[in-house]
């Protein structure tokens, strides 16, 4: 220990490169976004002058923004809620001892390995009206009589996108839950069984409470990821048809890089950041106090 005490600088020197890199790449753009959000910025990025909160006013006056804001809420709730509902039973199953468990784990994890962009491209093709394999398969099984126009209206396209969002979020969430389940001691289940607790009672009274911190963590991390998720909606519908599937990130990208309104896009970024900080503040409150900082 004396060696460590003599060199209090060493850990700081070890941390500096990563800290500098992250601060540089994340700090400057953050400052720049704040700067652009209170300035009038031309299509080509020229700063025309200070304009106070005009950009924010314009954004909040845009009905598409307000619709996207609400839709982001549904998107996040839908994907995160659906993911947790699917991932808890899947993790419980994968935690059992059964033949082929290794293969099952690999299959469940697969969507994580594929780029969201590629997943979105494949599903966009699979949901094609006449030639897509979803309609073909459903027709063969006799579940639908005629091809469904999945992506032609936002009322269908948006739920479809939520389902794809759930599919790609399940592996990460299952991973967290498996980590949680592996830290649960086995003998308490044996004790419960001896006391005559049913499977459902064991789940309600033992597994769920032990899993709760991991469920909380999975919810918050997923909320952050899903809230920021760009490729699925951008590739499948580009926010259309008639702006009916925009969420805040796709709206932001369209404002900034398609409609040439960087100032307003920066304002949207900041609004989203404030929302994210609120979520994280909540996370830090529900997270149990960390024990000794080893």
């Amino acid at each position: 220990m004396t060696r460590i005490a003599r060199r209090p600088l060493t850990p700081w020197l070890l941390i500096v490169p990563s800290f500098a890199l992250a601060l540089f790449v994340i700090g400057y753009p953050l400052y720049n976004i704040v700067f652009q959000s209170v300035h009038e910025v031309s299509r080509f990025g020229l700063i025309r002058g200070f304009c106070g909160l005009d950009n924010f006013r314009k954004v909040f006056a845009d009905p598409i923004f307000m619709a996207s804001l609400w839709r982001t809420l549904w998107w996040t709730l839908g994907v995160v809620g659906g993911t947790v509902l699917v991932a808890v039973p899947v993790a419980l199953i994968l935690n059992q001892d059964f033949y082929g468990r290794g293969v099952a784990r690999v299959i469940v994890m697969l969507p994580w390995s594929v780029s969201l962009t590629m997943t979105a491209i494949v599903w966009r093709w699979a949901f094609n009206d006449e030639y897509g394999m979803v309609n073909v398969t459903l027709q063969r099984m006799g579940l639908i009589a005629a091809p469904v126009h999945w992506l032609a209206t936002s009322t269908l396209a948006f739920p479809v996108e939520i389902l794809v969002g759930i599919l790609v979020s399940v592996p990460f969430t299952v991973t967290i839950f498996l980590g949680g389940l592996s830290s649960v001691p086995v003998d308490i289940y044996e004790a419960a069984r001896i006391d005559g607790a049913s499977g459902w009672q064991q789940f309600r009274k033992l597994t769920l409470p032990l899993l709760r911190p991991f469920i909380n963590m999975a919810i918050v991390l997923n909320v952050i990821y899903v809230f920021n998720s760009f490729p699925i909606i951008w590739v499948m519908t580009q926010g259309g048809p008639s702006n009916g599937t925009h969420i805040l990130v796709t709206y932001l990208y369209e404002q900034g890089f398609r409609l040439g309104k960087p100032g307003e896009a920066a304002a949207v970024s900041l609004v989203m950041l404030v929302m994210l900080f609120a979520i994280t503040a909540l996370y830090l409150r529900i997270q149990p106090r960390e024990g000794g900082e080893a």
Binding site: V25, P29, V90, V106, V122, Y131, V136, L178, S183
Partner: protein, 284 residues
């Protein structure tokens, strides 16, 4: 050798319960494969069919030329390998510090990493683009340069890499290094001789995951890279689909399959380390 009857029954129940998810997970892979091997004139026939009349493997070589797959593949490799090396180079020392030293500001540094995880690239993309446009680089600026994408990816991977690495490093017994000191080995030498050899597996696994992250990323490279010659696979393939009247779906699916499969195999092989690493990090 007798098969455990109870375990067999449990296996059937487990697989039956997982079946719907397994089907949905494998569905896109089947779509990719069967579309990729269809002759072009069978892709758009109504009613559509799953199976092609003949497996047309030449689709892959046609696609390679038509989509300029080779260039995009090379760009993806440059960007992913570059960001992997940079991210690991800065994260290993930081993770070592977190795993081995008690120091003031450790909690604050962890919080900082959490915040960087939260600020996803897409939120900062407006500012990132401005930054790249402002920095002078070889008589021009950093827009449309691989190096800017590499630096950005590395920065956004630091939190993940430090988390994974430090949780693995913490499982490497400290006594080994300490006994090396007692034998007159300096701290730096002890790290090189004793610690690093044991840490190599964790570093390799983490490196591969940062590689996969770079390989799969979309928003940053979509924004920062402008010219066809510098586009990576995700952007190149998206451009084949986005805003087009006619999409050559058999070629697109051949391209997505080729871009996806190697990474999926790599990931399938390594996913158990991810489960372990994230779990260790979470428990700590």
């Amino acid at each position: 050798m007798s098969i455990d009857r109870r375990k067999l029954r449990r296996s059937l129940v487990c697989w039956a319960a997982l079946a719907p998810l397994v089907v949905i997970v494998l569905f896109p892979f089947a779509v990719m494969f069967f579309t990729a091997v269809k002759p072009a004139d069978e892709v758009f026939v109504y009613p559509a069919r799953w199976l092609p009349s003949t497996f047309r493997w030449a689709n892959f070589s046609d696609m390679w030329v038509a989509t300029r797959f080779g260039v995009a593949l090379e760009n993806s490799l440059i960007v992913s390998l570059g960001s992997m090396l940079l991210a690991i180079a800065v994260s290993v020392p930081a993770a070592y510090a977190l795993a081995r030293f008690p120091f003031r500001g450790k909690g604050a540094y962890r919080q900082f990493l959490l915040v960087t995880q939260m600020l996803s690239p897409i939120l900062l993309v407006i500012g990132l683009f401005r930054m790249a446009a402002m920095i002078h680089w070889h008589g021009s600026n950093m827009v449309d340069k691989h190096i800017s994408v590499i630096v950005a990816y590395a920065a956004f991977n630091v939190a993940f890499a430090v988390w994974m690495l430090s949780s693995y490093f913490a499982t490497i017994p400290r006594d080994l290094e300490e006994s090396a000191w007692l034998e007159g080995c300096g701290r730096a030498r002890a790290i090189v001789k004793v610690f690093l050899p044991l840490a190599v597996p964790a570093m390799v696994v983490t490196a591969i995951f940062t590689f996969i992250n770079g390989w799969n990323e979309f928003a940053v490279v979509y924004t920062l890279i402008r010219s066809d010659a510098n586009k990576t696979l995700t952007v190149q393939i998206t451009d084949l689909v986005a805003g087009r009247y006619t999409v050559e779906w058999h070629q697109v699916m051949a391209a997505t399959l080729l871009a996806t499969l190697p990474v999926s195999v790599l990931f399938a092989w390594l996913q158990r380390y991810l489960v372990k690493g994230l779990a260790l990090g979470a428990v700590k």
